[in-house]
Amino acid sequence: MKKSSTSPAPSLRADQAVRRGPAMQILVDGCPVDAFEGESVAAALFAAGRRELRRSPRDHAPRGMFCLMGSCQECLVWIEARKLPACQVPAAAGMEIETLGFREQRLG
């Protein structure tokens, strides 16, 4: 498996009480990010050090996951043609994710 450049050490994952799903990669803005099957996309990105997910509409201030229960909508990303809170979507191998800012730039 290609090594991702975004994973910091030491890991934020805590495996004392749990066996994770299989290790795999998701694609975020075209770059591979290491994750485990079933982790929420938000948690996987957070663990990979990608805390900023978007910019706020007026101040263009950095924002990231906040409530983790699908309420606050701060972690909205594009996941395969749907705009969804990343905290509510389990990651799957090869899943393609685009941050709002990246997609806006790509589409001009």
Partner: protein, 482 residues
């Protein structure tokens, strides 16, 4: 032509936490046909949140009571054969109680005879400078990260705010191998001691609390009572968290020392707010009760609201904790079964009295905890004018104050004036605090009210809502005679 008639069902339960799941099970045992809907991937709500799909609990290690209770509930639901739609969001409810869902396969509509709302709570975070920085998350968010995702919020985390989640999160971090830089609690030791009489009814939780305290002491974690966060600054590799001493209202004490903590994450929360999206959308009568979390639907002890066929249960009906929520769910279920003619008056009275007797003890404990989490007016008064209150629309405290001075008198006017609460979260994140800010100008929380409930309750795309509709589906009325 696509069949768009909603599917009939006796009872539709929104939310599969302790209240909703127990209500569904009880209603089924009374002979009702039940549909249980939740936007999460499985039952359990936030308190008994399941592991992510594909995760397994490790063998040979002790698991928390919450984990085991959640697993037991999910197993019971599985055996019951109750129809469950997980991963489905309720985005609209019509006045006939017709409930519109959106799930992985698209939209679906149901027409229940009765609707039970058990949507729990969302977390209140009183804003401070830096609260929008990525890496600053809610306390409830931290519990989800720890117990479901099995992930630390950071290597070194400051845990701040109020209520029992402070200790739970700080301990969860230590247990998972992380470091807690400090715990900042708005409450004093005395505030906690005042909850002891109600804790006496739950010796298990009293013991757990004592163990948590001991663990934090052993780990040398600084515990600062009557302290809050003044600001969080991003700099270098992490955050500088400026703590401040506060009085019992949460107002900073002038001239007190303000310790600084270095951390790479902050978990902060100031209590829970009942989720009233659906009951507000249906224009049920509500009342403001600060000690139970804020605005709640006006309901009888069994959750009957002012709208016929609409019931509420659990913390979303007023905070009383998970143990009480399950019993409250059953109370609502037997009410519903009786009201729909499936439970005799005699059987209903017997069940109601038995359940009410069971409910009392856990509710007393839960309400004591809710008291610790109630909004403290000094924390609101001390929000700086340039601090963002509404995260979705970047509306600052100064803008809310200005709108109030210009004449905004209630929450809907504030929304129209400033866009506060108009963003994708529908005011769930900012509504309670923004109302507290406005109430200082207007006089009371009752006077400023709350945002009128509006569909869609969750963001949905037009394409998704339209589903398989085609032009051929649009009924063309006959031309009027000339």
């Amino acid at each position: 032509m696509v069949d768009v008639r909603p599917a009939p069902i006796d009872l539709l339960v929104i939310g599969a936490g302790p209240a909703g799941a127990r209500a569904a099970l009880r209603a089924q045992s009374c002979g009702l046909e039940v549909l249980l809907v939740d936007e999460n991937g499985d039952a359990g709500g936030q308190v008994w949140r399941p592991l992510p799909p594909g995760f397994k609990r490790a063998a040979g290690v002790p698991h928390s009571a919450e984990a085991l209770q959640g697993d037991a509930l999910r197993a019971e639901l599985g055996r019951s054969g109750i129809q469950c739609l997980f991963g489905h969001k309720v985005w609209n409810v019509g006045s006939s109680l017709r409930t519109d869902l959106i799930g992985p396969e698209g939209v679906a509509s149901w027409q229940p005879r009765a609707l039970l709302v058990a949507t729990g709570t969302t977390e209140r975070v009183v804003p401070f400078a830096g609260w929008t920085l990525p890496g600053v998350i809610g306390l409830a968010a931290a519990t989800i990260l720890l117990k479901s995702q099995n992930m630390l919020p950071g290597r070194r985390t400051v845990v701040a705010g109020s209520g029992p989640l402070l200790l739970a999160v700080a301990n969860g971090i230590l247990k998972a191998g992380g470091e807690v830089t400090a715990v900042l609690d708005l409450a004093s030791r005395g505030d906690w001691l005042q909850t002891l009489p109600s804790l006496a009814s739950r010796p298990d939780l009293l013991w757990q609390g004592a163990q948590w305290q001991a663990r934090l002491r052993r780990a040398g974690v600084p515990m600062l009572y009557r302290h809050g966060i003044a600001s969080v600054e991003a700099g270098g590799k992490g955050f500088r968290v400026h703590a401040q001493q506060v009085d019992k209202t949460g107002m900073p004490v002038p001239g007190a020392a303000s310790p600084i903590f270095e951390a790479d994450a902050v978990a902060v929360g100031h209590g829970l707010v009942p989720g009233t999206d659906v009951t507000r959308l249906l224009r049920a009568r509500h009342r403001y009760e600060a000690s139970r979390g804020g605005w709640i639907a006006d309901a009888d002890p069994q959750g009957r609201t002012s709208v016929a066929g609409l019931y509420v249960a659990g913390d979303g009906a007023g905070i009383a904790g998970a143990a009480a929520a399950g019993i409250h769910g059953e109370l609502a279920a037997v009410a519903c079964a009786h009201d729909l003619g499936r439970l005799s008056a005699e059987a209903h009275t017997r069940e109601r009295d038995r359940l009410l007797a069971q409910w009392h003890k856990p509710a007393r404990f839960g309400r004591a905890m809710a008291g610790l989490m109630a909004l403290r007016e000094g924390t609101v008064a001390s929000i700086a004018s340039d601090t963002v209150v509404c995260r979705c629309e970047d509306v600052t405290r100064a803008e809310i104050d200005a709108a109030a001075r210009e004449g905004a008198r209630d929450m809907n006017q504030l929304k129209a004036w400033t866009r506060c609460g108009m963003g994708p979260c529908q005011g769930r994140t900012c509504g309670d605090v923004a109302a507290a800010v406005l109430a200082v100008h207007v006089g009371s929380r009752e006077a400023v009210g709350c945002f009128t409930g509006r569909a869609p309750l969750r963001p949905v795309s037009l394409a998704e809502v339209a589903g398989n509709y085609t032009y051929a589906d649009i009924p063309i009325p006959k031309a009027a005679p000339l």
